[in-house]
Symmetry: C2
Subunit: 245 residues, 2 copies
DNA sequence: CGGAATGTTGATTATATTCAACTGTTGTGG
DNA sequence: CCACAACAGTTGAATATAATCAACATTCCG
């Protein structure tokens, strides 16, 4: 789908920057409560890599070398339906991580992880993570909680994907991402990716996405200006979304 | 469908049967590796209740008293989309459990749990489970693994619900539940609930379900006899499903 | 037996996809 | 810095897919 980056370096050579790695790890869910020496140890095993836009960071069906975290840039987790269609399970931004479940169970990667922009990616290898969990009960509990969070999020996703109207799904999505503009109290949404990508996240085609945004606009609920969306009627949008948080 | 509890009392009074509870708990994922005294302790806190078909065992949005497990009967976890529609997230049968994620995070129940037949339900209260996790690292790890399993299953669900053709979804579902008939080597599927219920699990209406089964039949892939489905062409069915396990 | 739940079938309709053509935007190499 | 290619987004018409509505058949239990 995307390429066109003509001269990617042939080899993406991994490197290690303890400052970056330690800062990243201490901010990662489940890892954020580890003591210094444990963070240092993990950082010593971890690697950083640079990927260009469109590059595959981890491929579905292949072993996952470890927990993956984004230092910079953004990426998508894609599920491929059995046709050529792609559906996005999750969008990752700087600070987000992926792979806990597969690493813990030593399973192959369940999705494709593809860079949406040039990005810097950290890999915390599986073995040290699993070993740490074995000897640090607090970490095991934190990991369990992180996984429990993800379970509830996924159930929410499943629920969202069940509500048949794509307009409702979009309204729900926009409502969930609404944030206050800094100055005044107006609500705005910053889309974390292109509209086409968001469309795939919501399970619709880009053409449909375009029509849906137009529909919301014509109802006076939002105002679209390129990647910025102003919410004109938050209550109306929430009502359309169906009263979920 | 299945029953055996003949005359459920008007009031559902909880009771405790250590034999039943201990046998159940030692078979539950994550709990299955606990030592005897720990199982006994949990059993001492746990309760059994009888529910009639159609009764709500746990309601969405309300606090969940603990991990719920089915001793007998079957139940459905339903997501309600914002119209009146219901989508089934999971079907539970005897031995299945539910609620780890919500219990661990002390969150409200994310779904409705409704009895599909009269059933006997065990509740293992939240607090003892959380405390046990705090002092037994092995249990915490086992719980994390159980949750990781669920994460991967849910990703699979999301993936399945993304593939647009309902015929593919049904083929995939039947393929995943295929089992060898005892005598000969023929493949059969025993539906764990009524066709209407399975339809809701697959995200289609019962009318569509009926037509889909007819379509598979006319293609010579299956043969439907009430609740029993014989798979005549496993390879063909798998090909239709899209080559997933 | 009788009533309720379950399942089937046909006709019609809503919803989103597909196909196709076109415009706008962006980043890069010349 | 401009020109161009690749990407991103828009719009319209035709089409596919499953939902809905309505009527009827069947099965299961009490």
């Amino acid at each position: 789908m995307q390429q066109g980056i003509r001269s990617a370096p042939t080899a993406i050579r991994p490197f290690r920057d303890r400052r970056i790695l330690e800062a990243l790890i201490t901010r990662l869910p489940a890892f954020d409560q580890l003591a210094r020496p444990e963070v240092d140890e993990l950082a010593g095993y971890s690697q950083l890599r640079v990927y260009r836009r469109g590059a595959t960071i981890a491929a579905r069906g292949e072993p996952l070398p470890g927990v993956v975290a984004l230092v910079e840039g953004s990426a998508k987790l894609t599920l491929r339906s059995n046709n050529g269609e792609e559906r996005i399970a999750r969008l990752l931004e700087a600070g987000d991580s992926f792979g806990f479940a597969a690493v813990l169970l030593e399973r192959d990667c369940p999705v494709d992880l593809v860079a949406l922009s040039n990005c810097v990616v950290a890999t915390i290898p599986s073995l040290p993570v699993r070993q740490l969990m074995g000897r640090n009960a607090g970490f095991a509990v934190a990991l369990a909680r992180t996984l429990a969070e993800r379970v509830l999020l996924l159930v929410g996703e499943l629920e969202a994907s069940a509500q048949h109207s794509s307009l409702q799904r979009l309204a729900c999505y926009l409502d969930s991402r609404a944030a206050q503009a800094d100055g005044n109290g107006a609500w705005v949404v910053r889309l974390p990716a292109t509209k086409s990508t968001i469309a795939a996240r919501l399970g619709v085609k880009k053409e449909t996405m375009s029509r849906l945004l137009r529909e919301l606009t014509s109802r006076g609920l939002v105002e679209v200006a390129g990647p910025q969306i102003a919410i004109l009627d938050r209550a109306g949008l929430a009502a359309l979304a169906g009263g979920r948080a």
